[in-house]
C-alpha cells in the first residue's frame, strides 16, 4: 500500500528562491544566507513554541501506524502521543521517547542521529525531512509524522527502499576512470573537486524521490538522487575518457532519464544535504544537448 500525499502545509522553508536567484553569490554563500534566514525564522518559532511548551509541557504527535500482520493495525491509522518537551528536542528524539516509554512496537528506521546515515527521512507536517535534524520547536503542533509518500509501507514509518536502491544502482554508481598511475594518487584540481562536492554529499535518504511528482507518476524515472549520482561521476575530471562520458550520457538520456524532469524544484527543496539537484539535472540536460550536436 502507499500513503497519499497530503497538501503541503505551508512550511515557510522555501529554498527554491536561493537556488534560482541568479546573483553572483557562490552556492556556499547562498546556503549560509539561507541558514541565516531560516535561523531568524526558527528563533521566532522556537520562542513561540517554547512558550507553548512551558504552558503545555508536552508536545503532541500524530503518528501513522500500520502493520500487515497484527490485528487491529492492518487498517492504517494515526496514534497520538504526548511527549514531555525538552529544549533542543528533535522529531527523532520524540519518536524514540514515545517508543521507549509508551509503545515499543512503534517502528521506524534511525541510527546516526546526526544526518549522515539517511535512514530517518519521513513525512513530517507534510514535508519530507530527516527526523534527527528537525527540531520540534520549528514545527507547528501537533506534529504529524508519516512514512515517505510514494513508497510502499512495510510497517508504521518504515518504507520499502528497494526501488530507490534499484534506481541508484541503475546509473552505474561507481568510479570507472582508468588513468590511475601505479602507486600514486590521481590529480584532481580544487575547482573540479569543488564542482562535484555537493553532489557527493548524498546520503541516500530518498526524500527527493519521494517529493517528486514525476517519479510518483513514472515508476521508471531514474529520479533526482540517481541522476545526481551520475552527475558526480560524469563531472569528475578523473573519469575523462570520451567513451565513458558518452556511455554515462546514454544512461541519462534514456526515455526515463533527465528529460523527464520538469524543473519543479521539489527535490532541491527537501534535500537535507542542500544538494542543488534540479541544477545538476539541468546541467546534464545541457551536456546531453551538446553531445547530440557533436555526435549527429
Amino acid at each position: 500500500m502507499s500513503t497519499q500525499v497530503p497538501e503541503q502545509e505551508g512550511e515557510a522553508e522555501s529554498s527554491a528562491d536561493a537556488e534560482t536567484d541568479a546573483s553572483v553569490e557562490s552556492p556556499q554563500e547562498q546556503r549560509m544566507a539561507k541558514k541565516a534566514t531560516d535561523r531568524a525564522y526558527r528563533d521566532a518559532q522556537k520562542k513561540a513554541q517554547e512558550e507553548i511548551a512551558a504552558a503545555e509541557e508536552a508536545v503532541r504527535m500524530k503518528v501513522f501506524r500500520y502493520d500487515p500482520e497484527v490485528e487491529g493495525k492492518q487498517e492504517p491509522r494515526f496514534d497520538e502521543f504526548h511527549v514531555p518537551f525538552e529544549k533542543g528536542m528533535t522529531v527523532l528524539d520524540a519518536l524514540m521517547y514515545a517508543r521507549d516509554h509508551y509503545d515499543p512496537s512503534l517502528t521506524f528506521r534511525h541510527s546516526c542521529r546526526q544526518a549522515v546515515c539517511g535512514s530517518d527521512a519521513m513525512f513530517v507536517n507534510g514535508q519530507q525531512r530527516l527526523c534527527c535534524k528537525t527540531q520540534m520547536s520549528d514545527l507547528e503542533w501537533p506534529v504529524r509524522v508519516e512514512p515517505l509518500p510514494h513508497q510502499d509501507v512495510v510497517k508504521d514509518l518504515v518504507v520499502d527502499m528497494q526501488h530507490f536502491y534499484d534506481q541508484m544502482h541503475s546509473v552505474e554508481p561507481y568510479f570507472q576512470g582508468e588513468n590511475a598511475p601505479d602507486g600514486e594518487e590521481q590529480k584532481q584540481t580544487r575547482e573540479n573537486r569543488e564542482k562535484i562536492k555537493m553532489s557527493t554529499r548524498c546520503i541516500w535518504c530518498g526524500a527527493c524521490m519521494s517529493s517528486c511528482n514525476i517519479a510518483a507518476g513514472d515508476n521508471e524515472y531514474l529520479g533526482p538522487a540517481a541522476i545526481n549520482k551520475a552527475y558526480r561521476f560524469y563531472m569528475d575530471e578523473r573519469e575523462d575518457e570520451a567513451e565513458l562520458e558518452e556511455h554515462r550520457l546514454r544512461i541519462l538520456e534514456q526515455e526515463h532519464g533527465v528529460w523527464r524532469c520538469q524543473t519543479q524544484f521539489s527535490c532541491t527543496e527537501v534535500c537535507p544535504k542542500d544538494i542543488p539537484l534540479t541544477e545538476h539535472i539541468q546541467e546534464l540536460k545541457r551536456e546531453a544537448v551538446k553531445s547530440n550536436l557533436k555526435f549527429w
Binding site: 535561523r39 500487515p68 546516526c112 590529480k187
Partner: protein, 614 residues
Amino acid sequence: MYEHDVIVVGGGGAGLRAAIAAHEEGADVAIVTKLHPVRSHTGAAEGGINAALREGDDWELHAYDTMKGSDYLADAPAVETLAQDSPEEVINIEHWGMPFSREDDGTVSQRPFGGLSFPRTTYAGAETGHHLLHTMYEQVVKRGIEVYDEWFVQDVAVTDEDDPSERSCHGVVGIDVKTGDIQGFKANDGVILATGGPGQAFDHTTNAVANTGDGYAIAYRAGVPLEDMEFVQFHPTTLPSTGVLISEGVRGEGGILYNADGERFMFEHGYANNEGELASRDVVSRAELTEVNEGRGFEDEYVMLDMRHLGEERILDRLENILHLAEDFEGVDGLKEPMPVKPGQHYQMGGVETDENGHTCIDGLYAAGETACVSVHGANRLGGNALPELIVFGARAGVHAAGGDIEDAKIETGERGNIEYDDTEMPVQPGEAGIGAGGEASTATDGGAVTQDATAVVEREVEAQRERVEEMLSREDGVKHSQIRARLQKTMTQNVNVFREEEGVRQALRDIRDIREAYEDVYVEDPSRTFNTDLQHTIETRNLIDIAETIAMGALVRDEFRGAHWRKEHQERKDDEWLKHTLIAWHDGEPEVFFRPVILEGQNKTYEPKERSY
C-alpha cells in the same frame, strides 16, 4: 540456508573492505548487515585518515607516533603493519574515486591531527567517513558482491570442543528484519565480524544507535577473548545535547578551548604546555572535566570551542560540515559564536582479540574494524588512525579468509603461550545471572556428541536461535529492554567514565549483575514478525550487558593509569607490572581474566616506553 565462501557480517568500512579483498581473491563473498551498508556508522567519521604519503614523512614515524599515542600498550607488529599498509590503501581508495580534499597542485591534502609528528591526516572536507563508506560501497556494487541488508546476525555457528582454540566457525545465523525469518548462512572458508563499536553501553556517545557491539558479544560467547576492554576513548569535543561529534579537525586547524573564566585552560592550567588543544584525546577530555569539576565550566557541564578566528573562508573550505552540525543540533552559529563541547564516549580501543591477519583463536572466525583489537591503538587511539585500520586490517582479514597469500602473523591469540591468570576479587560473581531470555550461545552446551559436520553445526545454531526468539515473543509480560538499557548506560556513565574510582567500578559490576537478573524477565511487547525492532533491540541489549561487564572488569583489574584509563587510586603508569594486555574469556557461563605481554619489538627496533607528554 544460504551458502557462500566468505560471510562478512557488517557493511561499514571494515566489512566493505574485507568483502572487496576476499572477492579479489576469487572467493564468493556475501555481506550480511543489519543496516544497509550506506547507513553504517563509518559514514559519521569526520576528520580524516592517516597515511604517510609525503616527503618528510614515512611509515616509521607513523608507527612511532602510534606506539607513543597508545601509551605503549599496542603491539608493534600490528602498528607497523598499519603504518606500512596505509599509504597503499589510501591511494587505492583514491583510485576508486574517493573525493579527497586537494592541494593547489591537485594532490590529496593532509592536515595536522592530535599526537602526530607530521600532518599526515588525509581528508575529504569534514566528511571523510561518509566519502570512504560510499566509495567502497560503490566498489561493492561494481563487483556485484551480494549484500543481505537489514539482516540482523544473532550468533555464529561454532563447533563445541572444550578448548576454544580447537573450535571452528562454519557460519552465522541471522533474522531477516523485514520478515522475521531466521536463516543460517554457511561459510565455507570464513566468517568476518565487522560490526562496529559498542558506544551504546554509555548514555552520552558519538556513536549511532545501531552501535551495540554485537560482534564483540558474539565472538566472546563463542570463546574468543575480548582484549583491553577497559580502554574506552572519550572524545573531548561532542555537543552537550546530543553527543554529536565536533571533529578534531577544528582543533587541528587551530580551534581554541576556553573555560567560563575565559582562560585558554590547556595552557593556562598547564594540562599540555606544548601541544595545548592538540594534545591527545584522553588528556584533553580529562582537562575539560577537571575544569568543569572545579567550577570553571559553563552550566556545570561544558567548555567552549572557538573557531571564529580561523576566518570564514578557511572554515567554509575545510570545516563547513561543522557549521551545519553546530547549527542543526545545538542551534549555534560557529562563525559568530563559540561552540559548547564536553567529552563523550567515542571509540572502543579494545575488542575481539585477533592477530595482524584479523584471525581469532577460532578457526575460520575473523574480526576487523572497531570490533577487533589487533592491537594498534593500545591505551589510546590517535585521531585518524581508525579509518586506516578499517581498510588495512579489513583487507587483510578478507585476503586471509579467502585463502589468499598472506604472511604468517607474529601476534599470538587465544589462551596459549605466555599468559598469566588474574586473581582480583570481584564484588560479585559476574556473568552468572541472566541466562534467561538472553540465551547462551549453544557452543559447548550440548554436553553430548561433538558434531563436526559444518552444515549440521549451522543447522543446530539456527534451531537454537529460532527457539530463543520463539520464547521471547511468547512472553506476555515482563520488563522492557529499554528500561534495562537505560540502567546499564547510566551506571557505566556514572562509574566507568573518563574518571574511575575503585568503589565506583565495583558498584558498576554490582549494578550490571542486577541488570543481568532483570534481563531474565525481559519481554518483547511487539508480537509482529514484520520489522520487529523491539525484538532486535532486546537482543542487542543483552549484547551490551556482556560488553559493559568486560569493560568494568578490565577497569577494575588494571590498577594503574595508562592512556584513557585513569584510576583515582593509581595515578601512575606502572610499566614494570602492566605492559600487558587484559584479556577476558567466557568460560562455561563465567568471565575469566588473564594477561599477555605487550610486544614492543618491531622489525628494526624496540619501542622503549617513554613518558607521554604533550
